[in-house]
Homo-oligomer: 180 residues x 2
């Protein structure tokens, strides 16, 4: 349901090939949505079957042939309809908490180790996010930013806020588990 709208969103900006969309998932969009290339190509096929996107085959001599997809009028309508329909809340699945529910004196060391590793990864992630922020979104740059870039910055801000909260929580969790 949702991947469809992510792809439509990307196509609504520019006509693109599947390969380019995959790269977007690997970089910018990847911070809040992950999809494999298989998923992307399949979704593009479904979209064009449903008449929400169309494609042109472009032959290339130096590289493999490619298909450039563009969103159709029907695709835009579908996307707009989705935008106006409120999202239903919920869906916070947290496997780490499920693991912790199993914590006891026998396995607390294993779980503590996983918590520590998660903590380290989270800390690195936060550093990376903050690094991106200082490098690409300094105060003087922010004003002149086009809309899409502002939203991407907002995505980064969300990453930072959430990662900070996660890190603080992991500290609490480590203490709790160690003292079981």
């Amino acid at each position: 349901m949702a991947l469809k709208y992510v792809v439509l969103t990307l196509l609504s900006r520019d006509a693109q090939t599947g390969y380019e969309i995959v790269k977007t998932f690997d970089t910018a969009v990847g911070y809040f949505w992950r999809a494999s290339h298989q998923q992307v190509y399949r979704e593009l096929g479904l979209l064009s079957d449903a008449g929400l996107a169309s494609f042109k085959l472009q032959t290339q001599s130096d590289k493999p042939d490619k298909k450039t997809y563009r969103i159709t009028a029907a695709g835009r309508r579908e996307l707009m309809a989705w935008l106006e329909k409120p999202l239903k809340p919920g869906g916070n699945k947290d496997a780490l908490l499920v693991k912790l529910l199993n914590a006891d004196s026998k396995n607390k060391d294993i779980l503590a180790r996983e918590l520590e590793e998660t903590r380290q990864r989270t800390e690195l992630m936060l550093k990376e996010y903050r690094n991106i922020e200082t490098l690409h979104y300094s105060a003087d740059v922010l004003d002149g930013l086009p809309t899409v870039e502002r939203i991407l910055y907002l995505a980064l801000r969300k990453g930072i806020r959430m990662t900070e909260a996660q890190l603080a929580w992991l500290d609490e969790a480590v203490v709790t588990v160690k003292n079981l």
Copy 2:
């Protein structure tokens, strides 16, 4: 893959009926994992087919008959194996950010409204969480808490931290979208 371990976790504590497990999903566990009753009953069927859980049929005269499930030795082994295997990170799908990527001068009002509504819901949620914390987890209670309760408190703490971060971010997002 994952629902299986949530159900095994719940069964590893107590033998329970499907109905009881469903109620647990609607209350305590619901804060970090949602599942419908259909999913739960199906999963219980799959678990017992796989020999990871067994059940006893109990006839009742006043209420419908019920099946009480208990985890098997194989089920415990499977659960322990999962605990020791590190989780793979990632999977932060955020449909709200996808919507915001579509923001422009035409639809910014609709999106701003959804952001405001989300903000209100988030604020209520945070109040509820904090309320639960003061009511059930006052400082003097925390010491004597059994393990499971401590983990559930940890789940609540995560809810609080994350909801605070979400709320702070939503404030940023509202400002950004209004100024587009």
